[in-house]
Symmetry: C2
Subunit: 203 residues, 2 copies
DNA sequence: GTCTATAATCAGATAGAC
DNA sequence: GTCTATCTGATTATAGAC
């Protein structure tokens, strides 16, 4: 039932304009707060054109979120396996995530909207969970499994702690304005996180 | 400008009915998805009565979120100081949080709505951050500071990791239906979390 | 104070011209 | 295919009766 926008096929110009405009409005105003009139204006097309490409508001929203979730994250973790020395790898992943994400309004908005609409659109939250959270956790878990010398008690749980720490930090600092109230150094967070996970071996 | 509902004063019956009804609807449908008609029906009063107590929809919403945030969390951490042996304390806090919260629809909805509306209502997100996140972190940070023998590198960062792990676990398992897709044992999470933080000393 | 009834506006979705 | 114009119902907020 989800009108997914023909993944990596002939890219329709009008359809892309619509999705681009829809993203602006949905990410700013949320699902219920978005009017199709505004999407039409933002996309630079008429409202009827939107309805000819997407069945209704729900269809447009689902197609948008699906497309962004999949296109942004399927390649992020997919085929590549994590390699390298533990300290360097964990630092690099954590720092790259925090650096990229803190100024990435699209990522932050997607995360906010998926959580916001998780009750009305459960499939959307499940897709995000499957595509992003579960995949990241499994990948890092596998890395831990391959290195028993690290003394990791439970690889999946530890991977969940690792990514959960990063995501919750971004949510509290960026989405909830902790940065303005009482900034917490992301460098200190990464230091402590890597320290906790690796202090058996590398320190 | 926030119409806070007279904290611990003469409790107005109609006002409480309105807030109770408003909570049902706002927590289910979000801010924009909520109609004042539905609030009136759910609260069992007329719409005009709502407008006589609260200036408008925004005022009602802000008053509601403020009241719940403050009344639920001000005493949770406030005066009491954390005490006891490290392993027992960390286990107890983590298990109590996960056990209580996983079935606590009011808590889950508040968290979801505060994140969802963080852009439209920044003051609300800041209040939540200040009242819940920052306070919890400081309290646990102080506990760590008082026990240098634990070998904690950075007490505040480690406290952030501790609570961030718990909150992100609940968000991913409950709000994003990870529980249905691939459940992750909360016991294993707590074991690994406590193990990571304390393996210098207690193991 | 509280209700019923209503005003004014805006929403999602469609019809029909070109 | 795409646009303009429009229909129908819902929404916020208010007026006025009791």
């Amino acid at each position: 039932m989800t009108l997914i926008a023909s993944p990596s096929q002939t890219s329709n110009h009008k359809q892309e304009k619509i999705l681009q405009g829809a993203m602006q409005v949905f990410f700013r105003d949320g699902y219920a707060g978005t009017s199709m009139d505004r999407v039409a204006i933002e996309a630079g097309v008429s409202k009827q054109t939107i309805y000819s490409y997407f069945h209704d508001k729900e269809g447009l929203f689902k197609a948008l979120i699906e497309q962004i979730t999949i296109s942004r994250f399927q390649t992020l973790f997919d085929s590549e396996e994590l390699t390298g020395d533990p300290e360097g790898l964990l630092r690099q992943v954590a720092e790259a995530y925090l650096l990229k994400v803190s100024d990435d309004h699209q990522y932050l908005s997607l995360l906010r909207v998926v959580i916001a609409e998780s009750s009305r659109f459960p499939e959307m939250a499940k897709l995000y969970y499957h595509t992003v959270i579960q995949r990241g956790r499994q990948l890092l878990g596998k890395y831990f499994d391959d290195r028993p010398e690290l003394g990791i008690q439970d690889s999946e749980a530890t991977a969940q702690i690792f990514f959960g720490t990063l995501v919750s930090f971004v949510v509290s600092q960026e989405l909830m304005y902790g940065k303005e109230i009482m900034p917490l150094s992301s460098q200190k967070l990464v230091d402590s996180l890597v320290y906790l996970i690796l202090r058996n071996k590398s320190i």
